[in-house]
Amino acid sequence: MKTFKLENEPKIKSGFKAPENYFDTFQEKVLQQLNEKEVKVIPFYKRTKIISLAAAAVIGFALLIPIVNHYKTNSNELDEATLENYLSYHSNISQYDLIQNLDDNDIEKLGNDVTLEDETLEDILVASPNIEHLISEQN
C-alpha cells in the first residue's frame, strides 16, 4: 500500500462552502439581532428578575410561617425543665407547699408514673427516716 504523505499530495481543500448570497444578508441579520436584544431582551430580563425576586421573597415568608408559629407556641408554654428549675431554685415555694397543693388525682398519677418495687420502697424508707414526718403530715 502506498504511504500517504500530506506534503506530497496536492493541497486538499476543506470543501466547505457557504450558500450563495449568504454573506450579503448576514450583516443585516446580525444587526437586526443586536437591535432586538437592545430593545426587547434587556427590559424583559430586568422585569423577570424583579418578578422572580418578589416570588422568592413570598416563598421565603411562606416557609417562615410554621417556624414562627412554632416559636410563638413554645414561648407561651414553659417546658418542664424550666418550670422544675424555677420551682427548685428561684421561688420561695418549699417542697411542703408543693405537696400540699397536690390533689388525689395528682398523687394517683405520681403513683402510676413512679412505679417502685416494694423492696426499693423499703430501702428508701430505711435510708431516709425523715420521710415518716411527711407521711404523717399527709395523714
Binding site: M1, K2, T3, F4, K5, L6, I12, K13, S14, G15, F16, K17, A18, P19, Y22, F23, F26, Q27, K29, V30, L31, Q33, L34, K37
Partner: protein, 180 residues
C-alpha cells in the same frame, strides 16, 4: 487602512459605532465563517455560531483592553463559541463529541454546502481521531493557512508547542489515511 487603535475607538464611540461595526462584520465574516465551519462542520450550525460570535464581540467591545490584536480576540471568541456549541450539541444528543463529529462527516456527502470527494471526507475522519487541540492547530494551519504566530496568539500557546502539535497531527493523519 486605519490604525487598529483608532478603529477600536470608533467601535466604542456611539456616533461612529454602527458604521465601524459594519466594517468589522464585512472584514471578518468570511474568515470567521471558515474558521467556525471547520470546527462545527455543518453550515446551519456555523451560521448560528457565527451570529452568536458577532453578538458577543459587540457586547464585549467595551471590555476589550487591546492587549491582543482585535483579530486574535475575535478568533478566540469564535473558537470558544464553536467548541461550546459542539459539546452542548453532543450532550443534548447523549453522545461524545467525537461520535457527533463522525455522524456529521457521514452526512457531508448529502450536504448541499460541501463540495468534496472521498479524500476530503477521509481527511475529515482522520482529523476527528486527533485530540481537540491538535484538531484546532491542524485546521487553522492547513485549511485556513494562518501563521504560527497568529495561531499562538489566538490559542494562547507558544509557537514551539504549536509546531510540535502540528507535526504530531500530520503524522497521525498520514497513518490514518494510509491504513484506511
Amino acid at each position: 487602512m486605519i490604525d487598529e487603535k483608532e478603529f477600536i475607538k470608533q467601535l466604542l464611540t456611539p456616533e461612529t459605532q454602527n458604521s465601524a461595526f459594519q466594517k468589522l462584520l464585512s472584514d471578518y465574516q468570511r474568515p470567521l465563517y471558515s474558521h467556525i465551519r471547520n470546527i462545527v462542520l455543518n453550515h446551519d450550525d456555523a451560521d448560528d455560531v457565527l451570529q452568536n460570535t458577532f453578538v458577543k464581540v459587540f457586547q464585549n467591545l467595551k471590555n476589550f483592553k487591546g492587549e491582543s490584536k482585535l483579530f486574535s480576540w475575535m478568533y478566540r471568541i469564535a473558537t470558544n463559541e464553536a467548541l461550546t456549541f459542539l459539546s452542548q450539541k453532543a450532550k443534548l444528543s447523549g453522545i461524545t463529541s467525537e461520535a457527533l463529529q463522525n455522524k456529521t462527516i457521514d452526512n457531508l456527502k448529502a450536504d448541499l454546502y460541501f463540495d468534496g470527494d472521498e479524500i476530503q471526507i477521509k481527511l475529515q475522519k482522520a482529523i476527528v481521531t486527533l485530540p481537540e487541540k491538535q484538531q484546532l492547530v491542524f485546521k487553522m494551519k492547513y485549511f485556513e493557512e494562518l501563521k504560527y504566530e497568529e495561531i499562538a496568539d489566538i490559542l494562547g500557546t507558544s509557537v514551539g508547542a504549536l509546531k510540535a502539535s502540528y507535526h504530531h497531527a500530520v503524522k497521525k493523519i498520514e497513518l490514518y489515511v494510509t491504513s484506511n
